[in-house]
């Protein structure tokens, strides 16, 4: 475990520098300047997580004309044969970047279990604490000397903490969570305070503590820990100090500027959408630009639609959510491209499951894990194609079923990761990144 640690001297220098307000230009800037041009740069991943389970029939696998199809029209993308919902018209301009997988077939139609499965590739409940793919791939892809956390998660549904954690991996790969609203806002109103939510929690000293006090506290703490660890260099104590040093580095250095969206042009910010998800996508780009290997951005709601869990009024909800998703995702692709980052950034679109092809009495669709869709886009992906197929009524996978392991393996390959690599699990047994049984969709990997 190569935990980049600061020497005691570095630490004290940093503390002191922060106190007197000296700007640490630091190594991060060098790193950031170098990223876009570096050909050997490892890939990053942005996971667009659709909380609640998005309806495949009304986004990426429409069945116009069939009674299960619903009212939405299908539109052309810039690639013949790849057709998607009319409410994703901006994204349709980037069909050449998309690989639509229409044959997801998992067996978990419960929010918690599906979320765990789609994040870890495993069903929950066993003795092994599987890591979230964010942690799994962050560990493989993080650049040395990264001052920022390597797995950042924006506005996750925190009812499934295990889907955000490092599991049996070093907990420093657990997600660094921003914008955790805590409990769901039942009115469905998007959080108005998204600017505030996207700031790092607790990254600033409490208001009543002066800069001089904070500096004194840190100096004393370093002395105390130094003394304690001299005799007791055990794991928990060492990890404690490492985490504090990373936390202080984050507070003090330029790294935290990544979270300052105010540096972005107003026009660009508006293109992403003035809402939590849109600005979250923009933040994801800023983080990826600075070397963060894995960012998850969750879309949980839009005005009038409180999640993708559209048991009733499905079409109204999906339309509203699409209106948030479409500009954010399309702009993300364009912005990454402008910055020269698109070829090294994989974008994954997924939720915990899909929704019933059958439309229920409340004009809704219920949980459905048997035949649904996910999308891969950008770096590492052969775009402009559709993989797999569902039956005419949408209830069966007709071609190329893809399960949780297959999906995880495909993401891994697109990121250029050796998916056969083992990690040591919490029960002391090696566990591969994906199981030997996983069948990655090789044809979508560039």
């Amino acid at each position: 475990m190569a935990i980049p640690t600061l020497s005691r001297r570095d630490y004290l220098t940093l503390s002191a520098a922060g106190v007197i307000g000296f700007s640490m230009s630091g190594w991060l800037k060098v790193l950031a300047d170098g990223t876009a041009k570096d050909r050997k740069r490892k890939r990053s991943c942005i996971l667009l997580w659709m909380n609640g389970g998005p309806s495949q029939m009304d986004t990426f696998d429409l069945k116009p004309g069939h009674e299960n199809g619903g009212p939405f029209q299908e539109i052309k993308t810039n690639v013949p044969g790849v057709r998607i919902s009319e409410h994703l018209s901006r994204l349709a301009k980037h069909g050449d970047r998309l690989a639509v997988i229409r044959s997801m077939s998992t067996r978990e139609a419960d929010h918690g279990r599906g979320t765990y499965l789609m994040h870890t590739g495993h069903v929950p409940g066993g003795p092994i604490d599987y890591p979230s793919m964010g942690a799994l791939f962050a560990k493989e892809l993080e650049p040395p000397d990264l001052e920022l956390p390597s797995f950042v998660s924006i506005a996750p549904n925190n009812l499934v903490p295990a889907a955000q954690r490092a599991g049996f991996l070093d907990p420093r790969y657990s997600s660094f969570v921003l914008g955790a609203g805590g409990l769901v806002d039942f009115t469905g109103a998007p959080p108005a305070n998204y600017e505030q939510l996207l700031k790092v929690q607790d990254s600033e000293r409490p208001a009543e503590v002066s800069a001089a006090q904070a500096a004194a506290r840190l100096k004393f703490l370093e002395e105390a820990d130094e003394e304690f660890l001299r005799d007791r260099p055990d794991g928990p104590a060492a990890s404690h100090r490492a985490a504090y040093r990373r936390a202080v580095a984050l507070m003090r250095s330029d790294a935290a500027k990544a979270f300052n969206l105010g540096e972005e042009p107003k026009g660009l910010r508006e293109r992403y959408g003035n809402n939590l998800f849109g600005q979250g996508c923009l933040l994801a780009r800023r983080l990826v630009e600075r070397g963060v290997p894995f960012v998850e951005v969750t879309l949980s709601g839009a005005a009038g639609a409180n999640s993708w869990d559209t048991h009733s009024n499905n079409f109204e909800g999906v339309k509203k959510l699409s209106a948030v998703l479409d500009p954010a995702w399309a702009t993300l692709l364009e912005d990454l491209d402008d910055k020269g980052l698109l070829d090294t950034t994989l974008i994954v679109w997924a939720g915990e499951f899909g929704r019933t092809p059958h439309i229920n009495r409340n004009r809704g669709r219920d949980h459905w894990a048997k035949s649904w869709s996910t999308v891969l886009a950008g770096g590492g992906v052969k775009g402009g194609q559709v993989v797999g197929k569902t039956s005419a009524d949408g209830t069966e996978v007709a071609e190329r079923p893809v399960d949780g392991q297959d999906f995880l393996a495909t993401v891994g390959l697109a990121l250029g990761v050796d998916i056969t690599k083992p990690n040591v699990s919490n029960i002391g047994r090696p566990v591969r990144i994906t199981e030997p049984t996983a069948k990655p969709i090789k044809e979508v990997v560039a």
Partner: protein
């Protein structure tokens, strides 16, 4: 800043608080006679046997064991291990000032019989028996909802309060009556009654015989069967048929109907076989050691299994219990992993016959886990310092010094609350339709505690592997808990108490957090800092408020230190 909170309720309380922090609590009117019961003698004898074996082990392996822990180190360790929290400043003082030779044994007695023991071991068993709470969606919710559903927590509490033997607790779990009870839906929880019941265990294993077989074998027998669920592995000890013949004991359990909705459990207590999926082969229930169950009329399959599991001569059960307990107190099992004591994966750290000795003692004392706790905590091995004095102590499997272990979220919160004088506030649920019903005997939830626990949820089963995240560090450094330290009861009490010197105040903070007195260098450093008004600019005359702020800084340093964050 003007201290609020405690000030508003009057000075009297603050003084009383300071007394607790400061006073050498008057020793008990009459120090209890060193009454040695039969049990005490037996525990001491077992402790001596533990130490004999390690003395030999260390000699053979050329280990220079660390010196014994001093009173303060022992005190903090044994409080965290048995009561799940650090001692209060008053408790620490009382113990440190006590001069009687058997004070360590008496402390263990007091802790084993105290209310915190029950609360802490409910948490320990709950985490162990329901690990799904960590990995499953119900995680955050379960903490809210379980209090109102069938309460596993209340059930555990009942076992611990009644002090039942470990065999009886396991038997009750394995034979828990479920017929007619409501199985939770995957999306919906059972009706909110507050009935103590072990049914949550079955619910979280999804009422599936294979899950129940795998977890009970792992938990109670130290045997890992899961790998044999799907097929035979060439080198593994357990065959697929053995797995399913174990699952067959639970085959009578069903919860038919829509899995998404609450529905009634059904138990066919006499079902004694199961169909292996795929193969279609029907496998009869059979014990893991190959033994054929002696079926009796009116005795259910689960009961038959429970009788075998908890029998004194079960080859796995007492050893698995003793090993788990050893690992809990020493950080590493005599056999590791504790969930997989049998087979090629198992690593033997036993100095020679010790596990059999402990298991035998457990059986001889009617599966009273407290007896083993007494013996282990009385041993020299447990009472070694965690400070490293020689390289031969580096291999934790040789137990040459105590391993520093991470705290659970509960241990950390309860210690933090005690050290700062935090008073819990009842949780007001934000969802009005879900009342905050606490089952009888289960303490009501505290909102700040719940948030804290979700930030500090444990990642690892092994306390020795526990780690800190950046966010946990930020939360402790800058979060809600750190902000108001100058207004905490501890700081205001010390600041308001007129007759204390700065040195006494600093000492009180050390006792309240690290359960020890400051070393001379530490004392000098902090007294100087507080007297000069903390971080006040040079040349300014320090006011009382500056000194209070400086005391809060000292408290912050102690609470954020690695020494506070680990059980050492």
């Amino acid at each position: 800043m003007t201290p609020v909170g405690i000030h508003s309720v009057g000075k009297g309380l603050a003084l009383a608080g300071a007394l607790l922090l400061l006073a050498a609590t008057p020793a008990r009117a009459e120090p209890p006679k060193a009454r040695q019961t039969e049990t005490d003698r037996a525990a001491a004898a077992l402790a001596a046997k533990i130490d004999e074996r390690f003395a030999k082990r260390w000699k053979d392996r050329e280990v220079q064991p660390a010196p014994p822990a001093d009173d303060a180190e022992f005190l903090r360790r044994v409080y965290l291990d048995l009561a799940g929290r650090i001692p209060s400043a008053g408790e620490a003082r009382r113990f440190l000032d006590d001069t009687s030779p058997d004070k360590r044994r008496r402390l263990v007695d007091d802790l084993l019989n105290g209310p915190a023991f029950v609360t802490h071991w409910v948490n320990v068993w709950r985490a162990l028996l329901l690990p799904e709470f960590r990995t499953l969606d119900v995680n955050g919710q379960a903490r809210f909802f379980e209090g109102g559903g069938y309460s596993f927590e209340a059930w555990l509490r009942k076992q611990l309060e009644e002090g039942v033997g470990y065999d009886r607790m396991v038997r009750e779990l394995l034979t828990a009556p479920v017929d007619g009870l409501v199985a939770a839906g995957t999306d919906t929880f059972a009706p909110r009654t507050a009935q103590p019941s072990a049914v949550t265990f079955y619910n979280l294993k999804k009422v599936q015989p294979e899950n129940l077989a795998a977890s009970t074998a792992r938990l109670f027998l130290g045997v890992r069967l899961e790998c044999a669920q799907c097929h035979n592995h060439p080198f593994a000890k357990w065959k697929q048929e053995q797995f399913w013949s174990q699952a067959a004991f639970f085959a009578g359990l069903e919860a038919p109907g829509d899995k998404d909705r609450p529905r009634p459990f059904r138990d066919n207590p006499d079902k004694r076989d199961i169909t292996m999926p795929g193969a279609g082969k029907v496998v009869p229930a059979r014990f893991l050691d190959g033994g054929e169950p002696k079926w009796q009329d009116q005795v259910s399959s689960r009961r038959t299994l429970a009788d075998w599991v908890t029998a004194p001569n079960n080859p796995y059960f007492p050893r698995a219990a003793a090993n788990r307990l050893w690992a809990y107190f020493l950080g590493t099992g005599l056999i590791e992993p504790v969930d997989e004591m049998v087979g090629d994966m198992a690593q033997n750290n036993d100095p020679g016959g010790l596990l059999d000795e402990l298991a035998g003692a457990l059986v001889a004392h009617d599966f009273d886990l407290k007896f083993l706790m007494r013996a282990i905590t009385a041993s020299k091995v447990y009472q070694l310092t965690s400070a490293r004095t020689h390289a031969s102590q580096d291999d934790p499997r040789l137990f040459g010094r105590m391993t520093a272990r991470g705290l659970t979220g509960e241990q950390l919160f309860d210690s933090y609350a005690l050290a700062t004088g935090y008073r819990p506030r009842p949780l007001v649920t934000v969802i009005p339709s879900l009342p905050n019903v606490a089952p009888p005997g289960v303490p009501p939830r505290d909102m700040f505690r719940e948030q804290f626990l979700s930030t500090f949820a444990n990642q690892s089963d092994r306390a020795a592997d526990s780690q800190t995240s950046i966010q946990q560090a930020l939360a402790l450094m800058n979060g809600a808990a750190a902000g108001g330290l100058a207004r905490s009861r501890t700081v205001t009490a010390l600041a308001d108490f007129p007759l204390m010197t700065t040195a006494e105040r600093v000492e009180a903070l050390y006792l309240a957090t690290l359960s020890r007195k400051p070393r001379p260098g530490e004392l000098e450093r902090f007294v100087k800092y507080v007297d000069r008004g903390g971080a006040l600019a040079d040349g300014k005359e320090p006011q009382e408020k500056d000194k209070t702020a400086a005391l809060a800084d000292v408290l912050w340093v102690l609470l954020n230190s690695a020494e506070f964050k680990v059980n050492h």
